[in-house]
Structures are given as structure tokens and as C-alpha cells.
């Protein structure tokens, strides 16, 4: 695979162009060309793609697209370009498994095929903004969900009375605090070796992340450390500088991306190709050991609309069939926590992921926009569903999803806000408050069994 130092050199010596030209003259025309050449079309007959040949064509189109486009570096205004051979090398040599955690909590994550009989990866927790007084209890509650094999830590943006700002010294303090809370919460749950694979969401710049990850504060190479581009296929030096640091530490690197339907990628077909191309960017530029995606719809800022679900399904199927890298997805729900609509959206999202062969991070309520707006029940539901749906085929999943989507789609533009965690969850007893318990067990869990034949809490 192309050497990382060559990538650094290309970042400073590659073709130079204004960002607008990259978007308008390179990205958009190349995408349009490959969509036409490979005849990528969503016929709207099914939400979850069942056509393997189409998934493979999306993958092929993405190779040609990424060869033509590359990754734009915003600091140098240059493009890191790769030849087709280099991309193919990257695909061949990409890590096919990643080891998370330590001791009894050590876990290996692998890529899967669509219609797999394997249990896909379960990730718990939420990287949403959280009040410091709730953070430790929440981590403990998430870590107690035994089916979860990796964990996200809430974002803490306050250090005593000071609100942290990106790149500021206070952000380093918030990052260190976040790590300490994470480790302490896992220890309290009896899972001290559990890997935190969204590290560190309280830090948003390369410098502050590197400062806060120093091992004396509790960070481990067996955690997962994310490298984030900006939409679409752009990266800056602040983010890129994390890569050589993490490589030299021997730490697990995760490529994360949130391509936007309706943005530069255009419609669902473009989103599918761009989402796939991020896997190549991830391996070659971010040097990823694993991958996470969270595509959203530009207007509804969620993932549970059919066009996003289709794009997610076809792209991860293509990646699974042709690359088989460790891959999971975080899909955003429009509805807030503790609402029936949230659970329907989560069901549609998880049906898509499990049947397509991707791991699952619990869908986040309220577009992950509401402070304290995520609950441990979201994670528990997600893990239970992943286990209950193990082995489901795409055809079977489509039959269910066709009945689920009508239950929420009319409210997608104006979803209920739901409740914050302190309103619906008892953070002392680590269980839902009575009204939420009733909604969840008597409403959601029962309905799943009676209406859809999906039984949770079987084992």
C-alpha cells in the first residue's frame, strides 16, 4: 500500500486548486460521469438493496470516482491523488479485522457479507452533548449492556463554569475529563477493559486530541480513535496530524464520515458512490483499521428516510462483498428519545444494517442535536434488535421495513422532540422511569413481537 509519507508529500505537492473548483469542476462532473457509466439507479422498488450486481457496480464506480477526485486538503489547497493500482492495493491490504479492548473485554471486529449469518458488531453509547453531572452514570449504564462490545462517550463541553471551545486549552481539560469518566464508568460496570471507540468526542482538533490522549490520562491503543473528513472528501492538517501520531502509537484508527444526501453527492445514487469512496480514503489517507458512516438527509438531518437507507444498504453491501473491512454505521433518528417514533426509526435503520452486513451503533435520537437527549435504553434496544435479527436476509428485512416506514415517514419533517435523559431515565437506579418503562416494554417490545414477530430479550 502507498506509504503514508507519500500521502503527506502529496498533501503538500499534489495538484493545487481552489476548493470551489474541486467541488464544481472535479467532484460533481466525475460523480455524474461514473453514475451514468455504471448505470447506478435506485428504482424505488425496495428500500434495502437486494441486487448484488448493483452493489458491485457501485463499488466499481466508487473506485473510478475516487481515482478521478482524490482527497482535498483545505490547508494546502491541494489534492491527494491515487492511481487505480494504488486504490486496488489499498482495498487488498486494508485491515480485515480490528482488536478492541483488553482482558475479558477484548473483542475482535470483522467485516461481513450481506445476508450474513454472523452476529454483527454492537456499539453502545452516544457522542451527544451531555451535562457533566450525568456523564459518569450514563457511561456506567451503557457499559452494563453486555451485548455492546465497544462504547461511545458523551461529549462534555463544560469544565466547571467554563464552556470549552474548539482548539482552546480548556478543550484539552474537557478531553482528559471525558477519558477519566469513560474509564471510571466502565470500571463501575465491571468492564474495565471495554474499548471506547469514539475517542475523544470532547476534543475537536488534532492538537487537543493528541494532548488529551497521552496514556497517563487513561487512553489506550486498543480503544478506537476517529479521523473525520469534512463533506465531501476534504480534510485539514489539524485532523490529518492525528494519523501519524496514532500510527506511531499502534492505536486503532477509525475512519468516520457523514456524507450528505442533497449536498455535493446529490441524490441517493451519488450518496452511495461517495459513501463507498470514503472507504478508500479511509484506508489510504486516514490509515483506517475500521470504518464508521453516518449519512444524513440534508433537509431532515436524519438517516431514516428511504433514500438514505437505500444508499447505506447498497454501499455497505458493495464494501462487504469487495473489501470486507470492519464497518459499522450510526444512523440518526429524527424523533427524540422516549417516543414511539424513535423506536420505529431505529428499527428501520437496524433492519437495513444487519441484513446488509454492517455493524450497528445505536441510532441517536433527535438528530443527536438535543443536549442530554440520548438514553441507555436506545443502546439496549439496538443491541437486542441486532441479536434478534441475526441471520435475517435482505428480502425478509424489506418485508418488515415496508411496514415500519409508513409508521413514521409522515412525521419526519416535524418529529416529536421527546424527552431528555433526566426526564425519562432514573440515573441512580440505572433504569427507565415508570412512564418510559411502560412505553418501552408494554408498547415497543410487545408490539415488535406481536406485529413483526421479532422477539427481544430471548437470551
Amino acid at each position: 500500500m502507498v506509504d503514508f509519507l507519500d500521502v503527506c508529500e502529496r498533501a503538500s505537492k499534489g495538484p493545487m486548486m481552489p476548493q470551489r473548483d474541486f467541488d464544481l469542476k472535479v467532484f460533481i462532473p466525475t460523480l455524474r460521469r461514473v453514475l451514468e457509466k455504471y448505470n447506478i439507479k435506485w428504482e424505488k422498488r425496495e428500500v434495502i438493496n437486494t441486487d448484488d450486481r448493483l452493489a458491485d457496480r457501485v463499488f466499481e464506480a466508487a473506485i473510478e470516482f475516487y481515482e478521478g477526485v482524490g482527497t482535498y486538503v483545505t490547508d494546502t489547497e491541494r489534492v491527494i491523488k491515487f492511481s487505480r493500482e494504488e486504490i486496488l492495493d489499498g482495498i487488498r491490504e486494508a485491515p480485515k479485522e480490528v482488536y478492541f479492548g483488553e482482558g475479558a473485554d477484548r473483542y475482535v471486529m470483522r467485516g461481513n457479507l450481506p445476508d450474513t449469518n454472523e452476529l454483527v458488531h454492537c456499539h453502545v453509547g452516544s457522542g451527544t452533548e451531555t451535562s457533566i453531572e450525568y456523564a459518569l452514570r450514563l457511561v456506567e449504564a451503557y457499559a452494563r449492556i453486555k451485548k455492546g462490545k465497544t462504547l461511545s462517550v458523551p461529549i462534555v463541553n463544560m469544565v466547571r463554569h467554563v464552556r470549552t471551545a474548539s482548539g482552546s486549552p480548556a478543550e484539552v481539560l474537557a478531553g482528559i475529563r471525558c477519558l477519566q469518566i469513560a474509564r471510571e464508568g466502565c470500571r463501575l460496570a465491571g468492564r474495565p477493559g471495554l474499548a471506547i471507540s469514539s475517542m475523544i468526542s470532547s476534543c475537536t482538533s488534532g492538537g487537543t486530541t493528541i494532548a488529551a490522549t497521552a496514556p497517563q490520562f487513561g487512553g489506550r491503543p486498543s480503544d478506537g480513535w476517529l479521523i473525520a473528513p469534512t463533506s465531501e472528501l476534504k480534510i485539514d492538517y489539524s485532523e490529518l496530524m492525528k494519523v501519524p501520531y496514532l500510527m506511531s502509537w499502534g492505536a486503532n484508527i477509525g475512519q468516520e464520515q457523514g456524507p450528505v444526501l442533497g449536498g455535493y453527492a446529490g441524490g441517493p445514487e451519488g450518496l452511495a458512490v461517495v459513501n463507498t469512496a470514503y472507504a478508500f480514503h479511509g484506508v489510504l489517507v486516514a490509515r483506517a483499521d475500521y470504518h464508521i458512516t453516518y449519512p444524513i438527509h440534508m433537509t431532515y438531518v436524519c438517516s431514516s428516510v428511504p433514500e438514505v437507507l437505500w444508499a447505506v444498504s447498497v454501499s455497505i453491501q458493495g464494501i462487504g462483498r469487495n473489501m470486507r473491512v470492519p464497518y459499522y454505521s450510526l444512523l440518526y433518528a429524527a424523533a427524540g428519545a422516549a417516543t414511539k417514533m424513535f423506536f420505529y426509526e431505529a428499527l428501520a435503520n437496524i433492519l437495513t444494517l444487519v441484513s446488509s452486513g454492517a455493524g450497528v451503533e445505536d441510532p441517536h435520537p433527535g438528530k443527536a442535536k438535543i443536549k442530554d437527549g440520548a438514553t441507555p435504553i436506545d443502546s439496549e434496544y439496538s443491541c437486542e434488535l441486532v441479536h434478534a435479527l441475526k441471520g435475517i436476509t435482505r428480502k425478509e428485512a424489506n418485508r418488515i421495513i415496508d411496514r415500519v416506514i409508513p409508521k413514521y415517514i409522515d412525521r419526519i419533517a416535524d418529529p416529536p422532540n421527546g424527552e431528555t435523559v433526566d426526564q425519562c431515565y432514573d440515573l441512580d437506579r440505572l433504569k427507565p422511569k415508570p412512564h418510559f418503562e411502560k412505553l418501552y416494554y408494554d408498547g415497543v417490545v410487545k408490539e415488535l413481537k406481536t406485529d413483526f414477530g421479532i422477539e427481544l430479550y430471548k437470551n
Partner: protein, 222 residues
């Protein structure tokens, strides 16, 4: 204006076909039968507004809107000098200084709203990403802006939106500008808390808000 020609101009803009648009404009100008202002008012502006509306309804996406906007701008570059020669100009709804705040390099949301604002007749100064608070204010003063619009994608960068407003207050210039804030984590509660004039979850909503606030300000000024 001849309906057939008008349709040709409109279709060229909607389809993002710069070559066809410029060829038709050239033909019209050479014939000297049409007032250049009519070309803009009767064909080009309705077409680009239509593009904005189609985007708002989800019928087209950003690539199509960007291409149409580029085509529109190419046409304007040819026609505007003719207008200036005859001592006229196109009235803009208002001037907007738009950027992504300090330490935030996310631009897609900003770029979508800017493109949509331009289709609705705003003159927008795009000052890019990672913009310091004082740069927002200095640029607004320089161009005589009506609106300062700030985008932020992260909870740790939206705090810089507040810094711009605080600085304007310190300078005694807060009331001179309409302040709009937006981005992933931004909601009405945040906008209200920091003293912004408004926010919207969607790009079409942001443009509607800007139009409404400009109109209100103009009414108050009368």
C-alpha cells in the same frame, strides 16, 4: 419578450447549460430588440428563483443548484455591464456576510444556504471557514452588510457565534446588523440565548427568515 426565447433562457439556467445561455443572450443583445434589463427580470431571475424553489422542495440537489447558479452568474457577467452603461442596476434584497466560525472548517451547510440566498436575490460575501469573530465584523463594516450569518457544525465551535455578537455589543454596533446563526447543533434556544435574531433548521427556512427580517427592518426604517 418572445415566450420561446424566454423559455430557452429559463431552461438553460435550470439545466445549468452555460453555453446555451450565453449564446442566446448574445443573440438577443445583437438583435437590439430587447432591453437587457428585461432579459434579467423576465427570464433569468424567475428561472433562478424556480431553481431555488425546486431545491427547497427536494426536487433537485446541491449539484444541480450550483450548476444553475454558475450559469446564472455567467449570464449576469455579460448583461450587467450593459446595464451599467445605461446607468441602471439590479436591486439586491440585501447584503449578507456569511462564514463558518473560528476553528470550524465545515462549509457544506454554509455553501448550500449561500447558493440559495443568491438565487433569491441576496448579495452574499462568502468569507469562508475558520473565520475569526473580528473578521466577521470588519467585513460587515467594509461592505455595509445588512446581515451577518454564521455557521457552526460543532457544539465546541458554536460558542464563537456568541463571540461575534458580544464583540458587536462591545463596539456598540449590535443593532446595525441582523444576525443569523445556523449549523448542526444550533437551535432556537441557542440563538435566543446568545442574542441572535434567528436560526433555521433548513436552507429554505434560512432564506425565508432572512427575507422576512430584511423586510421588517426596511418597514421600521420608513
Amino acid at each position: 419578450m418572445n415566450e420561446k426565447i424566454k423559455d430557452q433562457l429559463k431552461n438553460a439556467i435550470i439545466g445549468g447549460n452555460t453555453e446555451v445561455l450565453l449564446k442566446n443572450i448574445d443573440k438577443i443583445i445583437r438583435s437590439k430588440k430587447e432591453d437587457p434589463l428585461k432579459i434579467i427580470q423576465d427570464a433569468m431571475i424567475p428561472a433562478i428563483r424556480n431553481v431555488g424553489d425546486m431545491f427547497g422542495r427536494g426536487e433537485i440537489f446541491l449539484p444541480e443548484m450550483l450548476m444553475a447558479a454558475e450559469t446564472f452568474q455567467s449570464g449576469m457577467k455579460v448583461i450587467e455591464p450593459k446595464l451599467i452603461d445605461s446607468g441602471r442596476r439590479i436591486e439586491k434584497i440585501g447584503k449578507v456576510v456569511f462564514g463558518t466560525v473560528l476553528n470550524d472548517i465545515h462549509e457544506i451547510g454554509k455553501n448550500i444556504v449561500i447558493t440559495l440566498m443568491r438565487t433569491h436575490g441576496f448579495e452574499v460575501y462568502d468569507i469562508g471557514a475558520n473565520v475569526s469573530p473580528i473578521t466577521f465584523v470588519e467585513k460587515a463594516k467594509d461592505v455595509g452588510a445588512d446581515i451577518i450569518a454564521m455557521s457552526a457544525l460543532m457544539t465546541t465551535t458554536m460558542t464563537y457565534q456568541k463571540d461575534v455578537i458580544d464583540y458587536l455589543r462591545e463596539e456598540g454596533e449590535r443593532d446595525k446588523y441582523i444576525i443569523l446563526v445556523g449549523g448542526g447543533p444550533v437551535d432556537n434556544e441557542w440563538a435566543e440565548k446568545i442574542g441572535a435574531d434567528g436560526t433555521s433548521d433548513t436552507a429554505p427556512g434560512a432564506v425565508e427568515l432572512a427575507e422576512r427580517l430584511i423586510l421588517e427592518r426596511k418597514r421600521e426604517a420608513r
